[in-house]
Amino acid sequence: MKELVLAVALTTGSSLCAMAADQVTKAPPAAPYEQVSKLVKLPDFLPGMGQLFVDPTTLPAGPFLAYDHDGKLVSTIYMLPTKDLNPDKRFDDLASPGGNVDHVDVYYNAGHPGVEEPHVHVVLWHVAAPDEARVAK
């Protein structure tokens, strides 16, 4: 019986994840996501990341959803201020609203409107590494 409940739970969970991913795979994602370039003064398409959307209530960490020139989701990005990476703060249960993650990049960023302080980009790529080129320029 326990196995059945677990199976149902897993199936329901994965279905919900799939539904959630379906809602964000094409730009623009549904509310509460908003286009970053309409929230702050930033270029609409950021080389290396793409066109970004975020739920403003989740700033500065995100998640930010990044799309290529064809409006296809390529990554989910978290932006974690370096000052918050300390013994007294945690970032738990960060979601991957875009679904499956192919690989992850982590790198330092000096800051930009919206996250005006040095921070770390944690990029959950939903595409294979060669396809990162879709948002290179």
Binding site: V40, L42, P43, P47, M49, Y108, A110, G111, H112, H121
Partner: protein, 174 residues
């Protein structure tokens, strides 16, 4: 792309003293350009040059050449987010607000002295710059640079020395 150019007149005193031209390159033209730059992943951002010597009446034009970021040129002045005064008291403050790629902003400087400025989203990454308006001679201006206030350490370390700017005319990021 349409260029946006916002110009204000910096400096309140209007020192019109005739100054002998020096051999320093920046004294030759009326408009001096400072580039706002960054690398591809946004891990490094900077003004180029970071330090410059100009003569009274010259104009500085900042232009954002960073395709993936916005930048500001913002004077250290209480008028700007109550930042400490690090420029001549008599001179007018400035703040470009965010400049998108290829946008520019100009200020004409008339008051002699040392002017420190920063980029709002990148002050904590050390994106600052220093302008000296006047003659390429020592005036004890090191002392005129404001108190350190609550500037981030990384910003304080990034300022080129007044003596270097006076000696070289242009100081680039090392």
């Amino acid at each position: 792309m349409t260029l946006t150019r916002r110009e204000i007149m910096g400096g309140g005193g209007g020192l019109a003293a005739a100054l002998s031209l020096s051999s320093l390159a920046v004294w030759g033209g009326e408009i001096v350009e400072i580039k706002m730059q960054g690398n591809e992943d946004g891990s490094h951002v900077w003004f180029d040059p970071i330090g410059i010597l100009i003569k009274p009446g010259q104009t500085i034009r900042w232009i954002n050449l960073n395709p993936g970021n916005s930048h500001t040129t913002t004077a250290y002045n209480p008028a700007n987010f109550e930042r400490p005064l690090r420029m001549p008291k008599a001179a007018k403050s400035w703040d470009s607000d965010y400049l998108l790629p290829n946008e520019s902003f100009s200020v004409t400087f008339t008051e002699q002295g040392v002017y420190d400025y920063f980029c709002i989203p990148h002050e904590h990454a050390g994106m600052v710059g220093r302008i000296i308006v006047g003659e390429p001679e020592m005036h004890g201006w090191t002392e005129l640079v404001g108190t350190n206030g609550d500037l981030p350490e990384v910003a304080l370390k990034a300022f080129p020395m007044v003596e270097d700017i006076l000696t070289k005319g242009i100081v680039r990021r090392t």
